[in-house]
C-alpha cells in the first residue's frame, strides 16, 4: 500500500485559525496507523492567498487532497477515505 503523507500548513493564517490544534495529529496518527501515514509541517501551503476573500484556513493536505477548515476529525476522515479507496 502506498504511504499517505499528511502536510499541515504552519503559515500565519492557518496557525491563527486553529492550526495549533492540529499537532494532536502527531500523537493520534502513529498510534492509529503506525508508519503507514506520515505527518509533517509545511511553512506555508500557499492556499489562503489564492481565494483570500473566502479563505478556509486552516488547511491540511492529505497527499494531494486539500482539507479546508481542517480539524483533527476531518483529517482522520480523509485518511480513512483514501485508505478505503486504495483497497
Amino acid at each position: 500500500m502506498k504511504e499517505i503523507n499528511v502536510n499541515v500548513c504552519l503559515g500565519t493564517t492557518c496557525f491563527v485559525m486553529g492550526g495549533t490544534n492540529l499537532n494532536e495529529l502527531l500523537e493520534i496518527v502513529p498510534k492509529k496507523y503506525g508508519d503507514k501515514v506520515k505527518v509533517s509541517g509545511s511553512p506555508c501551503l500557499g492556499l489562503c492567498s489564492i481565494n483570500w476573500e473566502y479563505s478556509k484556513a486552516p488547511y491540511v493536505k492529505v497527499n494531494n487532497e486539500v482539507v479546508a477548515e481542517a480539524t483533527v476529525e476531518k483529517v482522520l476522515n480523509e485518511i480513512e477515505r483514501q485508505m478505503t479507496n486504495e483497497q
Binding site: 504552519l10 503559515g11 500565519t12 491563527v16 502527531l26 509541517g41 511553512p43 506555508c44 483570500w52 476573500e53
Partner: protein, 385 residues
Amino acid sequence: MFIDIDCTQEKKYNQNTYGDYFVSKRYPEAGRLVAVLSDGLGSGIKANILACMTSTMLLKFVEAESDIQKACEIILNSLPVCKIRKISYSTFSAIDCDDEGNAKIVEEGNPQFLWIRNNQILEPQYRIITSKTFSNRHMHIYKIKLEKGDRLIFCSDGVTQAALGSKDLRLGLKREGLIDIVLKELSTEPNISSRELSRRIVKSALIAEPDHKAKDDISALCVYYRDPRESLIFTGPPYHQAKDSIYAHTFFNFQGKKAVCGGTTANLISRELGIPVRNDLHQISGKLPSISHMEGIDLVTEGILTLTKACEYLETEEIGKDAAGELVKFLLDSDCITFMVGAKLNQAHYDPTLPVEIEIRKNIIKKMKKLLEDKYIKKVTVQYM
C-alpha cells in the same frame, strides 16, 4: 571596526548594592563611544551614589564639552574629599574612542588599564595633570591608536586587590595577576567577547579570594576592536515576483548569518535555490509556529506572528523559549543587521474575522529597527523589495 564593550560587576560581600558604577553611550552617527567606570569611596549605597554621580556627570560633561580631558579636569577639581580619610569621594577611568581606533583615556585613582595587542601588553605614554585645588590628586591622560584585535581592560581596585592579605597572595592579585588571568583566557579563546572576558575576570578575582567572597566591589570593563558580526533577515515575498530569483540568490550569497521569517518566503527560497524545508511540527509551543530547517540558513521561522512576538521580547527583555526567542537571540548576537522586506501583502491576513489582529509587516520592521537601534545599539538597515 566595531567596538565591543561590556562590564561585569560583583558587589562587596554582605552589601546589597554595587559600590562601582559603569555607564557608556554610543553616538552612531559620529562612530563614537564614551564609557566611564567609577569606584565610590567605601561600599554599599553610599559608594553607589558617589560612583553613580561621578560617572553620569562625567559622561554628560564629555558629551557637552566634546573634550574628555577638559571634562575630567572639571571633575578632578571639584570632587570633594572625605573629611576623615582625606581621600577622594570616588575614583574613575574614562574612555572616549571612535570606530577608527582613536582613543583618549583618562584615569584618576583607578588601577592602570591594560592594552593588549597580539597577546602582548603594550605600555602607552601618558601625561600627568595635577588638580589645581587638590595637590594630591592626579590624572593620567593617554592618547592612543588602537588596531583591529586590540583589547583594553579597565578594572576597579577590587580586582587588583582581590585576596589581599591572604596566605598565598599577601599583596593581592596586583596588576601582574590580572595580566595572567587575561592572557590565559585569550590564549584559550582568542576571539572571546568582551561580555564573556569581563565575566571571567570577575570570576577569577572571586576564586582568588580565600573564602570566595568579595572583600571590595569588583568591576571589570573590557573593550574589544573587531570586525562587526553581520546578519541578514529575509521577510516577505518581493512585490515583483519576477525578481524572486535575484533576491533569493542575493540572500543566499550573503557572507554573515542568515534568517528567513515567513512561510511563503521560505518556500520561495526553497523553490529558487532547490533547498528543501523541513519542519517536524514537534516544537509548537502554544502561541507560535515552530522553527523550520533549511541547509545553509541559520534560522527559519513563520513571519508576522513571530516578528510581532520578537518585538515584544525586545521591549520587555523577557525572552521566551519559542521561535521568537530564537529570533531575538539571533538579532542580539549581531552588530549590523539588514532586513530585506518584501512588500507583497497576503490579503488573507487582513480578514477582520481573524481571531488575532495582524500588523502590516513594514510597520513591525520599523518598530523593530527603532528598538534595536535605540535600546540595543545595533546598526540596522532596511531594504524594501
